[in-house]
Amino acid sequence: MNIPHDSAHKHVSGQSVYIDDIQVNSQLLIGRIVYSKCAHGKIKTLDLEAAKKLQGVHAVLCYKDIPGANQMGPVIHDEPCLAADEVICVGQAIVLIAAETEEIAIAAEKLIRIEYEEQEAILNLRTAIAKNSLLAPARTMKRGDADAALKKAKHILKGELETGAQEHWYLETQSCLCVPGEQQEITAYSSTQHPSETQAIIAEVLGVGKNEIVVETRRMGGGFGGKETQGNWAAAWSALLCNATKRPVKIRLFRDDDQIITGKRHPYLIQYEVGFDDVGKISALKFEQHADGGCATDLSLAILERAMLHADSSYFIANMEVIGKAYKTNLPSNTAFRGFGGPQGMAGMESVIDRIARFLKKDAVDVRKINFYGIDKDNITHYGQEVELNRLDTMYEQLMKSSDYRSRRKAVDEFNSKNEFYKKRISFNACKIWYIVYYVVFKSGRCFGKYL
């Protein structure tokens, strides 16, 4: 018998209360975000007068109305809360509206006039690379001398892997309800993965002490990284509206707006050069990882580092060099997403192994096996950490047996040779989930491979 989820009874009977389900008094106002339709440009005109006059509208705010700092970057302060004179992506918030109903807020939005002077926009990673539009200096991790080892290698392959963006699609869109308290106090009921940061950002934007702000996160209808930093936005925006009107204000993004406004998983372009011998043992490997960070830093650098730290997947490579670069583009700032860069880093390595196997006409399983981290030797990663309690070989043996891999591989090969149009595939991949250095407090330094 499973141990039931603590809230399961409430979930299944519709009794769990998410942000939009909280009962609020009749003073409640609905918040709406007016965002940029231009990927990069100067704001030429911003006319809010007609919207302010509409009956039922209680606040129409732009960056000038922010009492504290116009800033909500979680690590680097490069993210305006509301665009000032420049917009840097489609979806960037420019104006906030608080109105008595959703219909009135939508009607008010239609009365707002914004004109842009369009500027050249970088809309994909390859353009960003060509323009060297870096968010921060490149990072390097290396061990040994990859260049020298490449020269000595019997075989060399070069290539690249492109991984795409991904929408979080948490079922509950970004939401926050702010309720005013005494004087400057605000209680924010927020669907955030990081309540203490949400508290700090609200306080900064309002220019008040953190002690004035209480953030309550009862439950979240999914986050998957999408509400790790970007949950702050709806919170900061509704807090501004709440502060301006001294009434409760709720923001619950429509799905379409949420998808336009918020960042995705980071797309990567991973370039590699690998040297190996006749059995597929890798002696040298150079990776250059390029990440599309979007229009602001957000968590891009931590995610980049995690991708670099996962570039080895589960393999010991004596001479390895990983260069990581995160680029600024004119897309919504890409952000945390399950795995936080790890999947992209590992995908690069696993695709290198597959290339080698194809080149040598070997089963990739065998190439994986001979490159695994060792127990007593070859057990130091490219960033100098010792791989402890390594059970890779044991798991490999067990899974090869329990999955009956060899005979299934044979059947797949046979099927494929007989069928022109229908193909089957079987694969055996390594995967490392390594809780490491990006937050010292999370450091645990255990390696566990998981085979799928």
């Binding site: 039931p4 299944v12 009962q23 079922l171």
Partner: protein, 480 residues
Amino acid sequence: MQQTISFVLDDKIQTLAFNEQLSPTTTVLNYLRNSPVHKGVKEGCAEGDCGACTVAIGELGADGKLHYHAIDSCLVFLPMLNGKQLITVENLMQRGGGEEILHPVQKEMVECNGSQCGYCTPGIVMSIFSLYKTENNPTKEIIEDSLTGNLCRCTGYKPIIEAAAKACVNNGVDFFTKNEKHIIGLLTQIKKDSQSVDIETKKQKYFQPKTKAEALELRDKKPNSILISGATDVALRVTKRHDLLEEIIDLSHIEELKKCTRTDYVIKFGAGMSLEEVKKVSKNELPALNEALTVFGSKQIRTLATFGGNLGSGSPIGDTLPVLMAYNADIKLQSVNEERIVNMNNYVLSYRVTARKPNELITKVIIPKPVAGTIVKFYKVSKRKDLDISTVSAGFSLLIEKNKVSAITLAYGGMAAITKRVAKAEAFLMGNEWTRENVEQAMELIAGDFTPISDARSGAEFRSVAAKNLLLKFWNETHH
């Protein structure tokens, strides 16, 4: 004529009048969420894609019994509930002696760990509930089909499917069964007094005729009004574009349009039949139509969406169009003083423009039973199998006699502004042998008939390659 509508909710008849505060195009989802006791129902997308808003509808059938269906409440306008029972997740749990007693579906969802963040859960529970009421010991395929309209980003579905399998074992018996008599009594009472609905508020008019004759009269007087049948297309104008729909004729309550009749040669489908119903009816005799509807939207969407609505939009990516062309179907169009038959091949004239005159309604879809030996197939290329719009679709039919192609239709959706046949390829194959060489030559001719577009779903090049390869696939599945 009546100005109000009535339905059963929480075991009581609710009668609603419409006004400035309550628009007739209020969705059932928004109506429920505005009530303090029905916040279990959730909005995840407001466009029929996620199922978080799923509720169940109880309908009194001609057999005098209650039939339960799951639907997306975000796409249903309140008046469409007229005469029905609305069941929400809150109604599934009973309270007694200070205790909360879960429905078997809810109980299994708890025990199998079917919820994580819980946001999709009420919708999932309602989909499984309607499965519980209609199927006993459903196969995995049936379970999955009934969950195609529900997204869950947390669980990976396995525990949910397991919960459904464990729950649906009681022949549908539950406390709703005990209460059925009472509900049937209430619904009969609503029906007994019911007339056609004529709602007028300051900004909107909403008509819900009960007979075809009335509908035709209305349409004749108001040829510019907006017709709705299942509203799965039209509702998006309200939920996504926030349009005000000023004048609506709602065809969802006309029983005559929901009938299916047959002769030895043809099957006649009422234009108001739900696509879920059409799917069932077509299972044995029209397998390609059945296949098209298997991958059409989700079960919730098919339960609402109608044949008339799919043809009404005349969209080049409407999934029934290519398959109806392959079956050489006819459409019956009717106005107050005329009725006429238009063949599918002459029905769509240009992008979303059809042969239907403003005062006409689609009343029937007439499909001839294929000549013995004819093979008809439907293919849909989309980014995922379920709940996706076609990137390219195809309806093909083929008859081979004495080793030669003696009849062939190759109709494509998604390749042009209208659903279109490839005349050159058809002409080339007619009278020729059905060989790979000939088919490959015909594939080259397809390119000449189309200049597909690039859009969010795919690039033009992908569309061209897919269209050609579908023909090869057809050959691969039909040659001997």
